[in-house]
């Protein structure tokens, strides 16, 4: 029920406003309709009772002239109430008693009976009552008997329209006109409101995924415009901060690389060869860590454009580079798998996973698979895998597996964090899972 309601109500701001106003209009029209109906009923009852009451009052006040009236219009005075003739009409009885009381003749009892009669006399009746349009309607004979004082009854007969006058289609027309008058301008206002909000949403999303965004045009109603202005100010400030961060990182990278380069050159003059090798390895590792830190710090601010790339060829190229270096890496034959990605970032992600697999699992097997809704680049190894409770932790920066298994290499523990950042930037994810047959499978998952 709730779900159905949720599905029926529109999600957008303009849609919701229009929806609520439409409902309110409908309710207002319904109330209006009920009031009109009640008033019409009252009028109808008064209209039905009034002629007969008038005749009786007339008869009470000028009884002597009665003889000049036509037979049909006469009022008969009797001691007993007339026999029931047709259905009782308590509404008319009530109304007649009210009118009589108002005119100074409060009755003891009022009886009203209505009996449908044939249409024969209708044209006459219509002519007399100046009803000259509308479809033929059922006519009834109304017998009104009033007990003026106990035991003294006055009775007369008139004709009334049996049913209430129809309301016709005008209420529907009226409702439609209301809707046109109210809802169309509302829809226009809604669009005026929705456009800048959409632009804002788009810019915020773009910002979230790329770290940059175009300024939002400051248009629309005042409060929406204020929001756009505030967003633009925030955007400017965040971008300035990010730019400053990039500049700082660039400077740090440069300033650290120069002494590292100097150290690397000087290391060559060390006489002891094994010492020299170890020094250059350490320097190399420091440089790699510096690279990783800079890359991670810059993640999400990629300037590389998205391109359609054959992911299978990309994985194959990375694997080939490892094979060239004599590493135990294999790849499953794969069809062309085209995805919109940042080629350099994705190469790096695949490379990092393969490096991890070799380091912790001894070898790497790469496969690229495509299903209906995602593309996976998986790197499987035959290592010990990762304990389930440490999986999430492994993707955090500066986390490494048990140091004893680390063989004193492997950088700062930024590899997976960097891969995750690259995947987030692509709208994808990094998934780690222990394989049933042993070893870890790390997968780059992209939306297809």
């Amino acid at each position: 029920m709730k779900a159905l309601f949720a599905r029926l109500t529109p999600r957008s701001l303009a849609g919701q406003i229009i929806f609520v106003v439409a409902i309110a209009l409908l309710v207002a029209q319904a109330v209006n309709f009920t009031l009109i109906m009640r008033e019409r009923n009252r009028q109808h009852v008064i209209g039905s009772a009034a002629p007969a009451v008038a005749r009786i009052v007339d008869a009470i006040e000028r009884r002597d002239e009665d003889s000049h009236r036509p037979e049909r219009q006469r009022v008969r005075f009797t001691a007993a109430p007339p026999p029931a003739d047709g259905a009782r009409r308590p509404d008319i009885e009530q109304r007649a008693a009210d009118i009589l009381t108002e005119l100074g003749h409060p009755p003891v009892t009022v009886r009203a009976y209505a009996e449908p009669i044939a249409h024969s006399g209708e044209h006459l009746w219509r002519a007399r009552n100046r009803i000259d349009r509308g479809p033929p309607r059922d006519i009834s004979r109304l017998t009104l008997a009033v007990e003026l004082t106990p035991g003294r009854w006055a009775t007369t007969e008139t004709r009334i329209v049996a049913d209430r006058p129809p309301l016709g289609g005008w209420l529907i027309v009226q409702t439609i006109i209301f809707y046109i008058i109210v809802l169309i301008p509302l829809a226009l206002v809604g669009r005026r409101l929705a456009r800048p909000l959409q632009a804002l949403t788009g810019a915020a999303r773009q910002f979230a995924s790329t770290g940059t965004a175009d300024p939002v045009p400051e248009t629309g109603p005042g409060d929406v415009r204020d929001l756009a202005t505030a967003f633009n100010a925030m955007r400017t400030r965040i971008m300035a901060m990010l730019d400053e961060k990039d500049r700082m990182l660039g400077a740090i990278g440069h300033d650290l690389r120069t002494p590292l380069a100097s150290l690397r050159v000087r290391a060559e003059s060390v006489e002891d060869e094994s010492e020299r090798t170890r020094m250059s390895e350490t320097i190399e590792e420091m440089n790699r860590m510096l690279d990783d830190i800079l890359s991670l710090a810059r993640a999400g601010r990629s300037i590389e454009p998205l391109q359609k790339v054959d992911l299978a060829a990309l994985a194959d190229a990375v694997v080939e580079d490892f094979i060239e270096l004599g590493k135990p890496v294999t790849i499953a034959d794969t069809e062309r798998t085209i995805a919109s990605i940042r080629s350099n970032g994705m190469r790096r992600a695949v490379r990092n996973l393969i490096e991890n697999a070799i380091e912790y699992g001894g070898s790497a097997h790469v496969s690229v698979t495509r299903s209906d809704h995602q593309i996976r680049v998986s790197v499987a190894d035959n290592g010990p895998g990762i304990a389930q409770d440490r999986m999430a932790e492994m993707m955090e920066p500066f986390t490494r597996l048990d140091p004893s298994r680390n063989r004193e290499t492997g950088g700062a523990g930024l590899g997976l964090a960097l891969v995750r950042a690259i995947m987030t930037e692509h709208g994808g994810a990094l998934e780690l899972a222990n394989r049933p047959e042993g070893g870890l499978e790390a997968s780059l998952v992209l939306p297809a």
């Binding site: 440069h254 690389r257 120069t258 003059s269 060829a313 580079d321 060239e324 080629s343």
Partner: protein, 239 residues
């Protein structure tokens, strides 16, 4: 060229310039080390320099124009010292016409190896090899983007290449319709990242064919020349 080739080392960092000059001297080169571009220009005029090692990360706008100046005034090879982070600088520098580059922090042995490769090429009258300069090469519906080491097909889909495939492809597109023997291909491609290229050329050729040929078994682009080697049978436009 004299027995001891004369190198000009241009680097504003004393901490690199001095030990590097010493190292290069110990390895059989005559080295003149200077700190800025203005002095470098003077030295270039005054003495017969065989090769310039230039730190592209030096401050001042002159570093790039110096590179261009060297290329315009003679045939002196240039090797750039650069850092990975400064992508844009590197590309601009290479467009100025450097022959090769090493990434900081570099191994001095590697630098010496690169220098020797360039001298060997000059000595054997080999063609001048310009390092990848961010240019693209269009041939037969394909586009080789050197900056990304990627081939782009006619539909705009990128087909990434391995390092070895890329160097081989670059060798072909820079020498279209020339017959290149296996030795020549090895020589051309081995100038850089030598250790990454000890597999047989034939293997790489077959990998490349799988990627770019319509029918890899009867190749139309990279053709085998009997007794000669391979040739790229296509016009190439440099973009």
């Amino acid at each position: 060229m004299s027995e001891r080739p004369h190198l000009l080392l241009v680097d504003d960092e004393r901490s690199i310039r001095e030990p590097l000059a010493q190292y290069l001297s110990r390895n059989g080169f005559r080295v003149t080390a200077v700190a800025d571009a203005a002095e470098a220009r003077l030295r270039l005029k005054a003495s017969a320099i065989d090769l310039v090692v230039l730190d592209i990360m030096m401050p001042g706008e002159d570093r790039l124009s110096l590179c261009r100046h060297i290329r315009e005034t003679g045939d002196i090879p240039v090797i750039l010292l650069t850092a990975k982070s400064e992508e844009t600088d590197r590309i601009v520098g290479l467009e100025m016409g450097a022959d090769d580059y090493v990434l900081k922090p570099f191994s001095p042995r590697e630098l010496v190896a690169r220098i020797k490769v360039i001298f060997r090429r000059v000595a054997t009258g080999g063609q001048r090899v310009t390092a990848p300069d961010g240019a693209s090469y269009a041939f037969s519906g394909w586009l080789l983007k050197s900056q990304e080491r990627t081939l782009v097909d006619a539909e705009g889909v990128s087909v990434p290449l391995s390092t070895a495939e890329y160097h081989l492809m670059l060798a072909f597109v820079t020498r279209p319709n020339q017959v290149l023997s296996r030795d020549q291909l090895l020589d051309i491609t081995q100038g850089r990242e030598a250790n990454a290229f000890d597999r047989a050329i034939d293997n790489q050729i077959s990998r490349l064919r799988k990627k770019i040929e319509v029918d890899p078994r009867s190749p139309a682009l990279i053709k085998t020349v009997w007794g000669g080697g391979y040739t790229l049978a296509s016009e190439v436009r440099k973009l």
